[in-house]
Symmetry: C2
């Protein structure tokens, strides 16, 4: 019987040892034999426009890449329109990656729970997903919203509304909760909560609705800076001076915060650091230290500029 196994395997063991000679091992074979792929996936259940439109994601990717550079894992980015579909789930479940980082998860999306049972999974932001014992890296959204809202209260606002993220996201719910509790604490009646979808367009739409339904508004907690980029021009157009007539506090401290018409007072969250931390946890877990702390909460802080 002639050459039962690959010629390369049998005859060129020296070439295999010498990567300098240009030998590259076959990934599928290596992966099949060793049961690991040395790749991790970042899954973002958002459409491309949202993914590219929000610098939050850029920071997360930068942080993950930064940490991964010192490892021999590669990062594959998977942008899934809302819930990952069959093809992508099979990709993840089929062993193409050793672990998964999920950001921007919507509570109604349960498609990832099966994956979470097969692979280590780290969430950026609490997921509200049941039955998956993954890891979570988050900021204290409630606390951040309290800080933001307290600033408005301290500045003398009494008619305080909020433009929130989509209520299918835990972070959005938490920020609304922080806003509401601060107002109750202060003895103020909460104004409207309007969903601005964490987007520029949504922020503008929400601002318009807010002015229609609650013209006496004198303070707004806008739950992301991107929404502020949409909302602020609307207030200015309608003749509200900022911060004189209405005060605004944002969330993220993204580049948009500095380049607004009125520089934005906002809650800074350490996005790059979050990415780095998520990658760090995943790498650690993949190396066998599955006793990593389940939840990591990073601090936020108020960045004071002119809008409030």
């Amino acid at each position: 019987m002639a050459l039962p196994r690959s010629i390369q395997t049998r005859l060129l063991p020296c070439a295999r040892r010498s990567p300098s000679l240009g030998y590259v091992p076959n990934r599928a074979a290596r992966s099949l034999a060793s049961q690991q792929s040395h790749a991790i996936a970042l899954v973002v259940p958002e459409d491309t426009t949202r993914f590219f439109g929000d610098v939050y994601f850029a920071s997360i990717v930068a942080g993950i890449n930064d940490r991964l550079e010192q490892s021999d894992y590669v990062l594959t980015l998977m942008v899934a329109d809302h819930a990952p579909q069959g093809k992508m789930l099979r990709y993840l479940a089929g062993g193409a990656v050793d672990g998964v980082v999920v950001v921007s998860h919507h509570t109604f999306d349960t498609s990832l729970s099966r994956i979470g049972q097969m692979l280590p999974m780290v969430f950026g932001g609490r997921s509200g997903l049941q039955g998956v014992d993954g890891w979570v890296v988050d900021v204290d959204n409630v606390d951040g919203a309290v800080t933001a809202t307290q600033r408005l209260v301290d500045r003398g606002c009494t008619n305080i509304a909020t433009i929130s993220g989509p209520l299918s996201m835990q972070s959005a719910l938490d920020r609304v909760e922080g806003w509401r509790s601060t107002l109750q604490e202060a003895g103020l009646t909460p104004g409207p909560v309007i969903d601005g979808d964490y987007s520029v367009i949504g922020g503008a739409r929400a601002a318009r609705e807010l002015i229609e339904t609650y013209p006496e508004v004198d303070g707004v907690f806008v739950a992301s800076d991107l929404m502020t980029s949409g909302a602020m021009p609307v207030f200015l157009d309608r003749g509200y001076a900022i911060p004189d007539d209405v005060k605004i506090v944002g969330y993220d401290d993204s580049p948009a915060a500095k380049s607004c018409e009125v520089p934005l007072t906002t809650v800074r969250q350490p996005s790059v650091e979050m990415g780095r931390e998520m990658a760090d946890i995943l790498l650690d877990v993949l190396a066998g230290n599955s006793d990593r702390q389940r939840t990591t909460v990073l601090p936020t802080r108020l960045v004071e500029r002119e809008s409030a």
Copy 2:
């Protein structure tokens, strides 16, 4: 001899047939046996900031995803700081993907040439890479620049400069060439060429340098809209009225073009369509039709707004 092969393989052929029951084939094994991975990579040799900052990439990804949705290939995004390094090259060369799409390639980067000899490769924009017979989807950058520059000439500008992309990119060189040839054709002396690095910051810096060295400028072809976002405020700050004192034509027709202080006259290039076309070619080649036309050139057209 007991159970020589996988129990699953031998005993559960029915389960394997029934994906509805939750069976997911092992990707490494399938890939090893069939010699294909059913994945393609989009390689972007840029840092994360650039990748996320330029909507051009968002459009490309959207186009590719759009086309891939009707296939059973998945897209993995690889953002490589400038030249892809060892880890990523081994990933690509090791058979993790069946084909590669490259955008934003710099002429000095030869790291991909070996990959291009192993896998089908489609470039977004001419690469200037030797020895790789890949496919190219491009717009006619020279022609686009001619259109833009001709607009400035027609509007009566006589001191016409250009803010270019990095001259390590073929698209930047082509646009400079189109600009220069139009001016020569018109009997005008070309003004300075200043590299604005295809970025907002770079555009602002270039505008400052331009005003220093060539204050008589009355027309600028800015080779990307992103650079215009940086350049336009500088002109306005320095007291140049647009379009009265200086006329500006951009390139891309990105969202930035509409939201500039002065709505931007710009050369529209069909980025989403380019992504779709690149994916289409790659899929076609992977299906065995390697006789696809090597170069596809998509049309540009001038979008007239107020800046020129």
